[in-house]
């Protein structure tokens, strides 16, 4: 029995209990049908871990690493599909982890700044994926499209096992590392003087990021990973006043984006990944604009500067 099955067994009574109060014509099915319960549970788990990760990524100005690694995963998925793998996500995991380690090492050795190395990996591996798919004879099929834009319906039992394993493992590591991780992210030099293993912490963090990104591919798709990884954390930063409050707000924004996104995509029959991504962006825009308006009303004299 996989981890995903255990998680679903734990969650499904709660979901079924909530089902009667869930609005909508199609959305309640996410709380009653095992197939959709899997999707909902997977989406929620991924969102929680991605939110924590995103808060740390924003401190280090690494917002785009998720996007880079997601494209690398696509290359891995393509290789897996062409080689006839039953679960190409394992290929994606290997590719993504290797790329994350290489990007981290290039930065640590100051061979290249963060952005440039991410950009090279992003385009290089995406191109590899496209070429290999063409050579393999398939091109972009619906199966592959579901990896690009996410398709909650492809989450089978082994898919949920995969997501649960990565999410629980990463969450555990992040909780254990939290002190060292924050010290390293805020001020690496001071952390090194204090005697923290800055380099190993950075490396481990890269591997966690790579794994979480791959687990997100099924939920929002490789093209939209950043939406769950960065946008809720960025929105939280607008209103949070401490690191702790940012972590909490990130979860509030992330989880409500997923639930609203699933609701609207179910009711309006749109892709779930794109709807979730759209909602995260809308929440960000609403908060950002709202804040500007409130500030200009409260402190009009500031506009003179």
């Amino acid at each position: 029995m996989g981890l995903g099955v255990i998680m679903l067994d734990l969650a499904s009574p709660i979901l079924e209990m909530l089902a009667p109060i869930i609005p909508g014509e199609f959305f309640p099915a996410f709380f009653t049908m095992p197939m959709l319960q899997r999707s909902l549970l997977g989406a929620l788990m991924v969102t929680v871990v991605a939110g924590i990760l995103g808060t740390y990524l924003l401190i280090q100005n690494l917002a785009l690493i998720g996007d880079g690694l997601a494209h690398v995963s696509f290359g891995g998925i393509a290789v897996g599909i062409v080689l006839g793998a039953t679960s190409p996500l394992w290929y994606a995991l290997v590719f993504s982890v290797i790329a994350a380690v290489l990007i981290h090492e290039m930065q640590a050795r100051e061979m290249m700044t963060g952005d440039a190395s991410i950009a090279i990996f992003l385009t290089g591996m995406l191109a590899l994926g496209l070429v290999i798919l063409r050579l393999g004879g398939g091109g972009i099929t619906t199966d592959i499209e579901s990896y690009l834009f996410g398709s909650l319906l492809i989450i089978d039992e082994s898919g949920l096992d995969f997501i649960s394993m990565i999410c629980l493992g990463s969450a555990l590591l992040l909780v254990f590392l939290r002190n060292g991780l924050l010290a390293t992210a805020i001020d690496p030099i001071a952390a090194r003087v204090q005697g923290l293993p800055v380099r190993n912490i950075g490396l481990l963090f890269s591997v966690i990021t790579a794994a979480v990104v791959v687990s997100m591919v099924q939920i929002v798709g490789t093209l939209l990973v950043t939406a769950l990884l960065v946008t809720p954390a960025a929105t939280a930063k607008l209103i949070g006043r401490s690191f702790k409050s940012c972590l909490i707000w990130t979860q509030i924004f992330g989880l409500s984006s997923v639930i609203l996104g699933l609701y609207f995509s179910a009711e309006m029959d749109t892709g779930s990944g794109s709807m979730i991504a759209l909602i995260t962006a809308l929440i960000f825009a609403t908060i950002a604009i709202g804040q500007v308006i409130i500030q200009s009303v409260l402190q009009p004299e500031d506009n003179l500067n």
Partner: protein
């Protein structure tokens, strides 16, 4: 250093580091003073100890020492330069280190902040028994506060007690610019002071 080689494991938690004008801190992070100071208590030995009560006490004490009690829940991005410098010093203090290294702490802060910072360092040295090594361009500040000065310009030009440090005229000779009044320009110099 303390009888061990630099960066060796035995030194972890013994040295506190205060970066240049606290400018190493990312500008737009939401991190309260208290959260920042708490980071100073973490080292390789206690990284995974989550229920360490002394940590809280050390943080309280450090914040009190630098007199940032009334802004401890404000995020560091909203502090003034001098306050931020103090917050970073508090982080170094929270590590309980006996030896504190400050890199250009006086850059980018106003006169009042500078003076109260020097006062703080003086207290840390005399009341708390900390050894302080400060790198600074501010010769006056160093002469006012340090016990020992090392004057660096290409090489060590002076190393001795602060009272023995030459006056301005002989300093010019020391720097080899005694006769170049016409083209004299400020060259790179660093004063190092050490309090013990």
């Amino acid at each position: 250093m303390f009888g061990h080689s630099p960066m060796s494991r035995e030194l972890h938690g013994k040295i506190g580091w205060v970066s240049q004008a606290a400018s190493n801190l990312p500008k737009d992070i939401k991190l309260t003073v208290r959260e920042l100071v708490k980071l100073g208590t973490v080292n390789s030995k206690n990284m995974f100890r989550f229920f360490d009560k002394t940590r809280q006490e050390r943080v309280d004490k450090a914040i009190k020492m630098v007199e940032l009690g009334d802004v401890e829940d404000i995020d560091v991005g909203r502090l003034s330069g001098g306050q931020r410098q103090r917050a970073v010093i508090a982080r170094a203090l929270a590590s309980d280190s006996e030896f504190i290294v400050l890199d250009e702490p006086l850059v980018g802060i106003d006169r009042d902040a500078r003076n109260s910072l020097l006062q703080l360092l003086d207290n840390l040295c005399h009341d708390e028994g900390k050894t302080i090594l400060m790198v600074s361009h501010d010769l006056t500040a160093i002469r006012q506060t340090a016990h020992r000065m090392i004057f660096l310009e290409e090489t060590i030009r002076f190393d001795g007690s602060t009272e023995d440090f030459p006056d301005l005229a002989s300093l010019a000779t020391l720097r080899g610019i005694g006769h170049v009044h016409a083209h004299m320009h400020a060259s790179h110099n660093e004063g190092v002071k050490e309090e013990e």
